[in-house]
């Protein structure tokens, strides 16, 4: 009797199992080979990347820097008007050429080793070195030992050491340059402004992370200095100067009093935070057609500021020329949205920060 075709005989089962096992082994072998190949390819790519990285120099202008939305270069030519808008959308590259003084070879590098012998050693002539190139003076800027010269940009970290004290032309940084300057490094008066009179009595709003600006604590500049002890303080004051409109004052008297206010700021810093490096900044140009604060008066005040900075030997950032066009007016595209001829917008403050970074206070 023949077995039922449906019955599985042990002999038939062993043959099928062996075939199955064989197939499985083949599949596993293939997968293992594939996996091994993948690993080898991956390491190969890694090694190749490392080799290529060593050959290519680092990019000198990183696209963005940590801590902010990026600080793209801004066109700084007098005749070009940088676009305004959100950070990171600026076009054009800076055409500022920073000429750094050549580093001369030091004598130590060529000194011959001393010998204990009593015989005099032959005198070697020091190598002939070119004198360092003088720093480049910004065009249109007065020549003065206190005016800060252009230098290499120390980078965004520099601003972490800098505090800004000023009137509404500084307060605007909180709105238009908040990606570049931390709000707690901006000292402005109540209402966002300060008149440059009786300056030691004037209050500033002490930055607060929680409250709105109107509710910030009001303290004197002296108290702010004692609290913050800034490494660098840049003071931009003087566009609000009520004596200028006082018909009973002469320009001579206005100058005397203006310079006394500069001195008062200087004394306040020295008395309350002597380790702070103080620098003044010129009043920005205005647009004559849009404001009653004419450039002729601004120029005069900047002249007084320069005179007092020279008398006190305090650095002065002469950004005034940098911020103006060929007619000495504020570059139009730097003016804030309400076009008052005085206050700066995002593009304007970017230019200011560019200037500050390329004229670091040492």
């Amino acid at each position: 009797m023949n077995p039922s075709p449906r019955q599985n005989t042990p002999r038939a089962n062993s043959g099928g199992r062996a075939a199955l096992n064989s197939a499985l082994v083949r599949v596993l072998a293939a997968l293992s080979t594939l996996a091994l190949l993948t690993v080898f390819i991956f390491f190969g790519i890694l090694i190749r990347q490392k080799i290529e990285a060593k050959k290519t120099p680092a990019d000198p202008l990183p696209a963005s820097e940590s801590g902010n939305a990026g600080f793209p270069p801004v066109s700084v030519g007098r005749d070009t008007e940088p676009s305004s808008g959100q950070p990171g959308t600026e076009e054009g590259e800076t055409d500022r050429t920073v000429t750094e003084p050549a580093v001369p070879e030091t004598a130590e590098a060529t000194d011959t080793a001393k010998t204990p012998e009593t015989e005099p050693q032959p005198v070697t002539e020091p190598p002939v070195t070119e004198p360092p190139a003088p720093p480049v003076q910004d065009p249109g800027v007065p020549s003065s030992p206190v005016i800060v010269m252009e230098a290499a940009d120390p980078g965004a970290d520099y601003l972490k050491d800098v505090y800004f004290l000023g009137d509404s032309t500084t307060y605007g940084m909180m709105v238009y340059a908040k990606d570049l300057v931390s709000y707690d490094h901006i000292w402005a008066g109540s209402g966002g402004t300060i008149d440059f009179t009786d300056i030691t009595n004037k209050i500033i709003k002490w930055p607060d992370a929680v409250k709105s600006f109107m509710d910030w604590e009001e303290i004197t500049i002296a108290e702010a200095l004692r609290r913050a002890r800034p490494k660098i303080l840049i003071v931009t004051l003087g566009i609000n100067y009520s004596p200028d409109g006082n018909a009973t004052w002469t320009d001579e008297k206005r100058e005397q009093y203006f310079r006394k206010q500069v001195k008062a700021v200087y004394d306040t810093v020295k008395e309350n935070s002597p380790e702070t490096k103080l620098a003044f900044q010129t009043i920005y140009p205005t647009i004559d057609d849009r404001t009653s604060i004419k450039n002729s008066r601004v120029d005069l005040r900047n002249k007084w500021l320069l005179a007092e900075c020279e008398a006190l030997n305090v650095p002065l950032l002469w950004s005034h020329t940098y911020m103006g066009d060929s007619n000495g007016q504020l570059i139009a595209s730097y003016n804030a949205d309400h076009l008052d001829g005085i206050h700066l917008n995002t593009a304007g403050f970017r230019a200011v920060i560019t200037y500050v970074r390329t004229h670091p206070i040492s």
Binding site: S190, G191, T193, D198, N201, I203, N240, S242, T248
Partner: protein, 160 residues
């Protein structure tokens, strides 16, 4: 006729007594005491600080030789223009001289008014005035109501 003459003489006596009474102020009160009495009438007094010597010299033009006691309180911020000064002088002539200087100061303030940040404060400057109470002379730049209260408190503190 007699009745008319009596009435006339009584009226003259009454007016003369009234005149004498209104001109009598103390001359020995420290200006700080007066400020303590009057300054609470200013709602934003916390915004005031003692003016610097440079302010006295440049803005008021009042030399130290013209008074023997003074307090000048000026605003610390841009939003309020409340301000006042009280000088104690030696005699009426000095009071008149200082008053003239303070009037010049107020004129200069009005001519240099910049209302970009505090236009609503202008009425205070328009309302600003100088005052003299015996040997005390000064000025206020305050709202109408606060000025009245301030001067009233000042005058009361100076009465015998």
């Amino acid at each position: 006729m007699k009745k008319i003459l009596c009435s006339l003489l009584s009226a003259i006596l009454l007016f003369s007594l009234f005149a004498c009474a209104s001109a009598s102020y103390r001359a020995d009160v420290a200006v700080k005491t007066l400020a303590d009495a009057a300054e609470p009438k200013i709602s934003k007094a916390s915004n005031l600080a003692n003016a610097s010597d440079d302010f006295m010299e440049f803005f008021l033009g009042v030399g130290a030789d013209k008074y023997d006691d003074a307090i000048v309180r000026t605003p610390t911020g841009a939003l309020s223009i409340d301000e006042y000064a009280i000088f104690r002088v030696k005699n009426e002539a000095d009071a008149a001289a200082i008053r003239a200087l303070l009037e010049t100061y107020l004129t200069g303030r009005r001519s240099s008014w910049d209302g970009r940040y505090n236009a609503s404060e202008k009425p205070k400057l328009d309302n600003a005035k100088t005052f003299v109470y015996g040997n005390y002379v000064g000025y206020t730049i305050l709202s109408q109501s606060e000025q009245s209260a301030f001067l009233s408190a000042l005058e009361n503190a100076l009465k015998h």
